[in-house]
Amino acid sequence: MDAQTLIARRVAQELRSGNLVNLGIGIPTLVANYVPQGLAVFFQSENGLIGTGPIPEQGMAHPLLTDAGGRPISALPGAATFDSAMSFGLIRGGHVDITVLGGLQVDAGGHLANWMIPGKMVPGMGGAMDLVTGAKRVIVAMQHAAKGKSKIVAECNLPLTSARPVDLVVTDMAVIAFPGGKATLMETAPGLKVAEVLAVTEAELAIPDKVPEMKL
């Protein structure tokens, strides 16, 4: 299993029936492919849709039905459309149960940086700041390290997305939560030992007595 699939499958286990869920671009988008069978989840696209469906079959795309990146999508039975004020009212107002976003850094206190690298990458935050500030539960789906450097850092040196800490981080090596505001190693990827995770983690992690492997 490649790293992205592993992350997406583990995040999908966090979804509950009836949840309203917003998936960011990149690895988070893949989560929709692994929703457990029989689970009814509503996916929101922040450009104005609840009930996002899979990419339409060849020739079935509609130019006025796209995801937030402008790519064609479909809408499931029961879908609803609305304007951007409603869409962000849902997000900021705490009506979205889970948001899954990519990350550049998450620090020991659970703070996320994911929208800019000063002087290098300044695309704009889009909806990320509202999602992290307003969603009931924030899950970060990202690689544990980039170019050999830990993305789980002691303190973010990139600009923060929100002052609100995230709830869960799922990487290709570990699941990290923040009980009592302290980064804690909850699970390791299949076949990985705790020491192997710690060796590539900059932030100090609390280690419970038992750290199970992810069940995928």
């Binding site: 450009n47 006025l64 402008g70 962000f88 889009g126 909806g127 929100s162």
Partner: protein, 215 residues
């Protein structure tokens, strides 16, 4: 509501005007008006739009010819030309959170001075803004946003300017239709009065100043 041609509509917009343009990554954008802005070489525009789309598409066309000098938006990462112009300081871009963007416009259209939002507290977005604590939570004061012109795209327009939208092409259009001195609309379909049932009208006709005739 007055019917006009795209050429007449854009001729009303002076160089240097502020324009709000509906659409999200080019979806729900009034393309005929943008093409006409390009053809009439309007310059020095202050663009208020969610994103910069991509080169050659939607509002992206305005960056191709350097017609924009200022922009307020939320994301321009998919338009390398807009990025280059911003990093090269040819244009000024104020990037703000999307929820804040739409609420500032909504406030502008609804007679509010601004809104209080928790989004951006404790981040770079705080810069230069007033912060207030209320009921134990911190909020930023975000001021209302209006424009000289709103360029709006609808799915249906009837002869008196009632508008309805389709799927994800609705996005910022109905909110912007409230927040400009002059509102110019294009529609995929222009239909007789009554075809859009009262319950399905999203933007009531009196908000629309000009409807661009199809043809």
């Amino acid at each position: 509501m007055k019917p006009v041609s795209a050429e007449e509509a854009i001729a009303m917009i002076p160089n240097g005007a502020s324009i709000m343009v509906g659409g999200f990554m080019g979806v729900g954008t009034p393309d005929r008006l943008l093409d006409e802005l390009v053809r009439q070489k309007k310059s020095g525009l202050f663009l208020i739009s969610n994103d910069a789309a991509v080169p050659g598409k939607g509002v992206g066309k305005l960056f191709d010819g350097g017609q924009v000098t200022n922009m307020i938006g939320t994301h321009i990462g998919l338009n390398p030309k807009a990025q280059q112009q911003m990093l090269g300081k040819q244009i000024t871009v104020d990037l703000i959170p999307q929820g804040t963007f739409v609420e500032r416009i909504r406030a502008g259209g609804c007679g509010l001075g601004g809104v209080l939002t928790p989004t951006g507290v404790g981040t770079l977005v705080e810069g230069g803004k007033q912060k207030i604590d209320m009921n134990g939570k911190s909020y930023l004061i975000e001021t209302a946003l209006r424009a000289d012109f709103a360029l709006v795209h609808a799915f249906l327009a009837d002869y008196i300017g009632n508008l309805a939208y389709a799927l994800t092409a609705r996005n910022f259009n109905p909110v912007m239709a409230m927040a400009a001195d002059t509102v110019i609309v294009t529609a995929e379909n222009i239909v007789p009065v009554g075809v859009i049932a009262p319950d399905h009208v999203v933007t009531p006709g009196p908000l629309v100043d000009y409807l661009v005739a199809n043809g």
